[in-house]
Symmetry: C2
Subunit: 224 residues, 2 copies
Amino acid sequence: MKCDCDFCSLKTIFFNTINPNELENYCNAKIQRAYKAKENIIKQNDSIQEFIYLKEGLVKLYRDTPAGNQIISIGKPLDFVSLLSVFADEKYSYSVSAIKDSVVCVMNLNDVKKLILENGPFALRIITVVNKATDRILFDYLDISQKRLYSRVANVIIKFSELSQNLSFEMPISRKEMAQLVGMSIENVIRTISDLRKDNIIKVYGKDIEILDFEKLKHIRDIS
Amino acid sequence: MKCDCDFCSLKTIFFNTINPNELENYCNAKIQRAYKAKENIIKQNDSIQEFIYLKEGLVKLYRDTPAGNQIISIGKPLDFVSLLSVFADEKYSYSVSAIKDSVVCVMNLNDVKKLILENGPFALRIITVVNKATDRILFDYLDISQKRLYSRVANVIIKFSELSQNLSFEMPISRKEMAQLVGMSIENVIRTISDLRKDNIIKVYGKDIEILDFEKLKHIRDIS
DNA sequence: AATTTCTTATGATAATTGTCATTGATTGAC
DNA sequence: GTCAATCAATGACAATTATCATAAGAAATT
């Protein structure tokens, strides 16, 4: 039976860092779990026992704060779900839930740690990948924190358009979640979307969005 | 001659992960560099060749952005300076400069990578430490992004008070840098400091600050 | 099918923050 | 020591964003 890690991120990490026989072992040790949209994958304060990455679907990483939910990042296939804190902390400091129906691959965290201890190339590879992912989240956040409402909303629209690889796409998150992602109030996010529509930069039917003037939208994202 | 890593962060990482003889080798391979306040340690876009941590002094990590400098983090003794991107990128995406006179310890990055490849316990240790530090920066940022002007300024004052371990201390950074650190305009940061002074919560003589009502200051930091 | 709840939407208004202008103090360069 | 540049401070005003109120439509529940 062929190991189905072939199309997973894990394979990319393992690639050339572990011999095929061993790979088979670790690969078989992993578990897959499926989640329906809106289901919870990780809950804030859960103890960290597993190393999880997303095989299919779309997830959100978010924190429960006094000011409401704060979305830290959107996880795409091949992204790590247990990204931050995995090796740093005892407990998750954020929650993860499925935006679309999703399938995750799960490895026992101790197995991963054992691999790091025993397999140098793997260790170097995983530190690189985890570092890169965390960096991207941090620098994205630093970027938008300097931007204003319009720019932030334009940014989100472009990101999801790129994700779907289409100028016409269905926004997978609600307006409220868009607001939690850009760190602005729902009302102002909705108002911005309406304004972009009135200026014929985008077309909007509920969650269906079509970018009519990509250049102008990019311009709005980049200035201010 | 005794290796003077004894009081360095490196020692903590190496501790129990590498045998004393080898430690001596790596320790001797490292270089120390001294910087005067305001001198540049790392410049944005420099190629990443070294692994650097702070032995003495105080530094700031910051980005040069169209909207001006953005301070990402304040580095204290035993903190890593080449923290973000070290294993992830080719170039630094941020600059580091000395706030106070500082001494850094420098190891060749390839030596560190070699250690990761050859020494499992070291690899696991470094992945944990780097991860934890990056996490702290990200979550601090997520926290303040939900706070308002007053709360952010109170937060900075408390942080530097804690750093000096004294309610009366000298603010090591300028008002402008405080503004760049909290992500608000200089004028509003100054106004907030003035208001805190008028309310008898702090005493201010230029950079000398004394916290008069710590509880009230903490309260301001925590709400809103 | 009816009811409740959530989402999207918009206007009015208030709160928050930024910008511009000005001034005195401090610092750095020469 | 003098001059220029930067820093700290404050007021006036403008821009930006949040909050509250309201309402129609969609989705979930009964």
